[in-house]
């Protein structure tokens, strides 16, 4: 009769006892040691699943337990019993090199697919399903926060503001799926010439941006770009995507100490920057289409972009800005290239 070595704990004290386990053909097992001789029906014994080569526990109905390192023997007994297939499958997956390699490929491809397609697709769906009231609350809160940290009231004269507001209302009227747009003007030393598109159709132009424009069509093209952001719900989508990425990376690296988790911050930032660049490109496409439809030369947008870039000037600051937007030279080139066939009209 075959037996395996094990340690017995009665579950009442920490006292341990060396025992031998006999597995009998009758569907019973026997625990034999100094002053111990116990018999249990195998069906009443709970055997833990195998994890690597860690000790296996056999729990008995009376609260006692045996621990053994003879994992292979236990596996064989379970197999003979026709039990624990699911558990042994897990161990097979976790120990065979082929499956491990498959898991590695699946993780890399799956992780990439999730980040590249899964999360953006899901975020888009959710963003379009979000009720308008939430959108309004998000826009209102977003503007409140920006007002606190970045903006001060605009110094532009009312006439100019009203004029641009009317222009935006005209533009909005022509575009499907864009209802109420609201134009806000703010002064900000820190962000320079810039424009923001917040949820619920709030567009913010900085004073510097309005003053930087040398032709009305330049502001039209900027507005078209921002409407593109709103039309595609970029603000909400980026909020959702960025939270999902943080969750995803945290769930993979979560079991590491906090200092090491710091190294997760960099990929998170790079991914968020990549999402942001995709949105900018999408908004550029929208602006491009709008300008073409209205026979506005695309060079106006290219000029505006170049001037904004020159204003920012100092190349020492590039990382932040350039990481969240496609390279300006690239964007300008796109508009110039597309412009040439139309310029004859």
């Amino acid at each position: 009769m075959r037996h395996i070595a094990a340690t017995f704990y009665d579950g009442k004290t920490a006292h341990k006892k060396d025992v031998r386990l006999y597995f009998e053909g009758t569907g019973h097992m026997r625990v034999v040691g100094l002053g111990t001789d116990l018999v249990y029906p195998l069906s009443a014994v709970r055997i833990t699943s195998r994890v690597g080569n860690t000790p296996r526990s056999l729990y008995f109905p009376d609260g006692g337990k045996c621990e053994t390192l003879e994992n292979d023997t236990i596996d064989a007994i379970l197999q003979r019993q026709g039990k624990g297939q699911w558990q042994s499958m897990l161990h097979t997956l976790e120990s065979r090199l082929g499956y491990v390699f498959l898991a590695l490929v699946l993780t890399v491809v799956g992780g990439w697919g999730l980040v590249k397609y899964g999360i953006p697709a899901l975020a888009t769906r959710v963003a379009y399903a979000v009720p308008a009231s939430v959108d309004v609350a998000l826009g209102r809160e977003g503007l409140e926060i920006l007002d606190q940290v970045l903006f001060s009231p605009s110094a532009l004269d009312d006439q100019r503001q009203t004029h641009l507001r009317l222009q935006l209302a005209d533009m909005a009227g022509e575009i499907d799926e864009v209802q109420s747009l609201r134009l806000e003007f703010r002064k900000s030393e820190r962000v320079g010439p810039n424009a923001f598109a917040l949820p619920s159709g709030i567009i913010v132009l900085t004073d510097k941006l309005v003053l930087l424009a040398e032709h009305p069509n330049e502001l039209t093209s900027v507005l078209a770009h921002e409407i593109g952001h709103i039309r595609h719900r970029h603000a909400l989508r980026s909020l959702l995507q960025n939270s999902a990425v943080v969750l995803l990376i945290a769930s993979v690296t979560g079991d590491v100490t906090s200092i090491t988790a710091l190294s997760a911050a960099l990929p998170t930032m790079l991914l968020e920057a990549q999402y942001s660049r995709a949105f900018e490109t999408e908004a550029d496409q929208f602006a491009l289409q709008y300008l073409q439809e209205h026979n506005i030369p695309l060079t106006h947008f290219a000029d505006m972009l170049t001037r904004m870039e020159n204003y920012k000037g100092t190349p020492g600051q590039v990382p932040d800005y350039l990481a969240t937007h496609p390279a300006t030279s690239q964007r300008v080139k796109m508009f110039q290239d597309k412009n040439s066939p139309d310029s004859g009209k």
């Binding site: 004290t13 994890v51 690597g52 491990v100 799956g110 690296t253 079991d255 590491v256 990929p267």
Partner: protein
Amino acid sequence: MDPTIDQGKISPASTVVEEEAHSTKTIPFEFTGKADEYFKIWIVNVALTIVTLGIYSAWAKVRKKRYLYGNTWLQGTSFEYLGDPNKILKGRLIIGGGLLIYFVASFFLPFVDEYSWLLFLLILPWLVVMARTFTARNSSYCNIRFDFRTTWGEAFKVFFGLALIGATGLGYPYFVCRRTEFVVSHSRYGTTPLALPWQNGVRTFYAMYLAAGGIFVVLFFVIGMVLMPILSQTFSPFMVPQTQDQQHAPWLAAIPVFLSFFLSMGLLVYLPAFAYLKTAITNFIWSNITIANHRFYSSLETSQMIWLYGSNAVAILLSLGLLIPWATIRTVRYRLDHLKLLGAGDLNEFVSSQQGEVAAAGEEASEFFDVDVGI
């Protein structure tokens, strides 16, 4: 340190004082986990988590914990983790649902946002107690479970009052000290409570936090003055787009600067201060924990911890996360290799509390308490 000092804890086995003094011995913890074996388990569980869109993560957590516990040995017996993945999943769903409700509520009811700190203070004690209870009750050694017992009032008192003090910043070390005392002194192994009989806890915590702050400030200025000019000079040629390729994506050229800034500030300033604090606190807490007439002793070294954490961070970054299991194994190994139990007598005297009260109370409470919130 004299491990035989009686801390007022009565152990059933230590009746004769002379015997106790004779049988004092050091029992080291041992860790037998292997990086390659753990990598296989880890990657398969990550893959299954991705394939199931995160649902499997509860099962993955249990399998990873079981591997780490099962490879932790003390006196020839390994620890065992008994957590039920279903309960962990339930716990995560509850926490996720709670957060969702909070986000939605704060949009429609502005006052929710204003009082969210109060809400947080109310929920925090509850979360800590639930998490500690779940982890303790599902940790077992020699077929005897650990336990964590406290009353709601006490947890609430400790955390509500202390969190207010801790929130001021100056009170934070005091908060950490009292929180540690609370958690340890309500933990037990079987029927035997753990104790933290230190006299100078608060003072020592303040000294440790001050020292860590000092290390941070000094390094920040030294590194800032010495290294940053060198760094910016080294990389300045790369900042001007040189090739056609770089012109199209100049942000690529900025990555080295960004990366070296991030890494050097992280590795040279934050890391030493953090590693010092972690080492000092871990050693101080563990070397003061007693159970019956045994005492733990932790002897981590700051220099080793800096190396460990620093190399882990770099390895994980360069391997895109694939070396996480390797980093986990070597960190756990280092910590357990430097943890000992200074024992008086052997460990047989511990008695389970399973018979009687807890079995019933445990069953009854399991629906509500045994929800894991540790992330």
